[in-house]
């Protein structure tokens, strides 16, 4: 049973981690907070269901299509709202509020298009379960862990070891200096938001077959993803995943061995503890103090 709980906690943690990756990426590359991540996950799940479940487009193709759509969505969000507010010289808090407003628009918009009932996201794999360490794990859950790891490593490599990733970080640190060096700051920032949205949508498509798809699917996950990013070290890719894993495991083990009533209490006390004792997170990312 303990292995089963461990795996469930890890799956949950990986979903939180994928969302946390988006928060971290945006903060790392543009110094902003984006609270639409959870609802973008929902939108991704709905789009995935539409292409895969309704139009019967192969899953891999569905992932590519939704990834591209959400990449565009994230860029449009940044260009159409965030950068406009920044250009007006509004306080950073207003951009955060704008992202909260957008999250409600996505939630209500999804309600209008797909309705309020739970929708069954068809299974991705023919093999229902795979056996790891003697316990049955739903194939989609295992893939979820695998994809999260791949995303974490690739995003880290992209940000740290590619020219474009370096440009993105430079654009976030000092836009003026970056511009003077010939970096396209606008494109770099837009792309960051796009990638974050695409990763969140990917998470939505992965958890769709596990949980079904409904309009509030990403609401709680979004909040927990934020907490994960803070715990891991806001702005750090590995920290995002580790924070997610810790939060997922803490929640699951608290439910199993203490009480389900204390699950959220313990999780958020952990977040507050990190904010007070180690605001730079496990990976000592200095983003919070910037």
């Amino acid at each position: 049973m303990i292995i089963q709980i461990l795996v469930s906690g890890l799956v949950l943690g990986c979903v939180y981690g994928l969302i946390a990756l988006g928060y971290s990426l945006i903060y790392k590359a543009s110094g902003m907070l984006n609270f639409t991540q959870g609802d973008i996950l929902t939108l991704g799940a709905f789009l995935g269901y539409t292409f895969y479940g309704v139009f019967h487009i192969p899953f891999i193709l569905t992932v590519i299509i939704v990834f591209i759509i959400m990449l565009g969505f994230g860029m449009v969000l940044e260009k159409g709202i965030i950068s406009k507010l920044v250009a007006k010289g509004t306080l950073p808090i207003y951009t955060v509020l704008a992202t909260i407003a957008v999250s409600y628009i996505i939630q209500n918009g999804s309600m209008l298009v797909w309705g309020t009932q739970s929708i069954n996201f068809p299974r991705i794999f023919h093999v229902t379960n795979i056996k790891i360490l003697g316990v049955n794990i739903q194939t989609e859950a295992f893939v979820c862990i695998l994809v999260s790891m791949i995303c974490m490593v690739s995003l880290h490599i992209f940000m740290k070891h590619t020219r474009f990733g370096t440009s993105m970080r430079a654009a976030a640190m000092d836009p003026l200096a970056a511009r003077s060096l010939g970096i396209n700051v606008s494109l770099a920032t837009g792309l960051t938001w796009g990638i974050s949205a695409a990763v969140a949508a990917l998470a939505g498509m992965l958890i769709g077959p596990l949980y079904g798809v409904y309009t509030t699917l990403g609401a709680t996950i979004g909040r927990k993803g934020f907490a994960s990013a803070v715990m891991g070290g806001y702005g750090n890719m590995y920290g995002a995943m580790l924070g997610g894993a810790i939060l997922g495991l803490v929640e699951t083990f608290t439910s199993a061995y203490i009480s389900s009533s204390y699950k959220d209490l313990v999780a958020y006390i952990l977040l507050i503890t990190f904010l007070f004792i180690k605001p730079t997170g496990i990976f000592n990312e200095r983003a919070i103090q910037d």
Binding site: G9, Q117, N120, N136, Y211, T220, T252, S255, S260
Partner: protein, 415 residues
């Protein structure tokens, strides 16, 4: 180019916000006028002047997670208005529904209640299907002496002693002794409970626990969840470790399907009992995981008219399908229809549309055939429904649980 792009984006956003604001408009089929928050619509068939119309206030959730359920309830209520007015209304007076979107929020329910009484001068109230909203607004209706038929299932609002507030649907508190009786007959001695924290889910679970204790059934563990959670493996692990013979589940919305999947995934294959009917969308999402789930409920949601055996139900489904081209999405449609029929019957018994007379007449209704079974309000509890049917889900279909037991299927389950 940049200016054009921002104009397009602004237009797109405005359109989305407009559509969001009009969410209630889409969910109510005959909405003529809607506003955000308290979405209002009126519908009547007939041409009587104001003052010659019997006005029924109908607050239901038309936005939010229960929007589709509220829409289904409203469609049935509108259909009832059409049928009743065609037959001459209440004692020759046409009836009219004033629809409001209570957003499933008690705060909104109170605001709407005051508006319906002071501005719309309603003669009766139908709903809400959200029990916590009836609990919040019921006292206001009662004080204004307006006959009300709530359509939520929770026992709490009927425990307040409001003499003007009635129910024509199921009180889950009444079904709990039935469920524990059924468990005893199946030799269930230990049960684990999984419950939500909203009023309906919590109260049903508490009533069940009380009844289980009375019946000598041991409650091995009580696990809860927060709305929006997607992982219940911790709770499930604890429940399975407590080695129950069965699981009792008191949840709402999408949680049910996810919980059922994780419960089966972690290896619990025995019978599970649900506090109320399991809707079709839950079955679609949960698939095989809701096999062997049992519930005691007056009705189930049918996918086709042919599935229904009861003539009253068949007739209602035919009318509904004829009017809207779809089957009712949720049993809340049945509840609203039955409530409207009770008002109609009361107006006939009273022979007048006076609020006091209607209220007194509801208490006299006996042996009245509804979609949920025979209604009897004469015992003074203001509850009309006292009978239940037992169902089990097998391969996505609702089967008669007692027939299933008679066929000896329980021994196959044990194997």
């Amino acid at each position: 180019m940049k200016k054009q792009l921002s104009k397009i984006l602004a237009l797109g956003l405005s359109l989305t916000m407009f559509l969001t604001a009009c969410g209630a408009g889409k969910t109510s089929t005959k909405t003529e006028e809607t506003t955000t928050g308290a979405a209002v619509s009126e519908s009547t068939t007939g041409t009587a002047e104001v003052g010659e119309i019997f006005v029924i206030g109908n607050p239901q959730p038309l936005t939010g997670v229960n929007a589709q359920v509220g829409e289904s309830a409203n469609m049935a209520a509108e259909l009832a208005v059409k049928v009743i007015n065609k037959e001459g209304g209440f004692n020759g007076v046409p009836i009219k529904l004033v629809n409001y979107d209570d957003q499933g929020s008690p705060e909104e329910a109170v605001k709407i209640a005051n508006k319906m009484i002071q501005v719309d001068k309603v003669d009766a109230i139908l709903g809400s299907l959200t029990s916590s909203n009836v609990l919040a607004a019921g006292g206001i209706y009662n004080e204004a002496r307006i006959p009300t038929i709530g359509t939520g299932n929770s026992p709490t609002w009927m425990q307040q002693g409001w003499e003007y507030v009635f129910r024509a649907g199921l009180n889950t508190a009444l079904s709990m002794p039935h469920v524990t009786e059924k468990m005893l007959s199946l030799n269930v001695k230990k049960v684990a409970v999984f419950r939500g924290l909203d009023d309906a889910a919590k109260t049903s679970a508490e009533t069940f626990i009380e009844e289980a204790k009375k019946a000598g059934i041991e409650v091995t563990t009580i696990e809860s969840y927060t709305e929006g959670d997607t992982d219940f493996s911790g709770q499930v692990a604890k429940m399975i470790n407590s080695k129950p013979d069965a699981v009792f589940c008191s949840t709402n919305g999408p949680t049910q399907a996810i919980f059922a999947k994780q419960l089966r995934q972690l290896g619990f294959n025995n019978l599970c009992f649900n506090r109320e009917g399991i809707p079709v969308d839950t079955i679609n999402v949960a698939g095989d995981a809701v096999n062997n789930w049992v519930f005691a409920y007056p009705y189930v949601v049918y996918s086709s008219i042919e599935e229904a055996k009861d003539p009253e139900m068949k007739e209602f489904l035919e009318l509904y399908f004829q009017a809207y081209g779809v089957m009712p999405f949720h049993d809340c449609a049945y509840r609203s229809w039955d409530a409207m029929m009770v008002f109609w019957e009361a107006s006939k018994i009273a022979g007048s549309n006076d609020k006091e007379a209607i209220k007194d007449a509801i208490s006299k209704i006996k042996d009245f055939k509804s979609l949920g079974g025979m209604l009897d309000f004469t015992d003074g509890t203001r509850e009309g429904l006292h009978t239940l049917n037992d169902y089990i889900i097998i391969d996505g279909k609702y089967l008669d649980f007692n027939e299933w037991l008679k066929a000896g299927n329980i021994s196959k389950l044990a194997e």
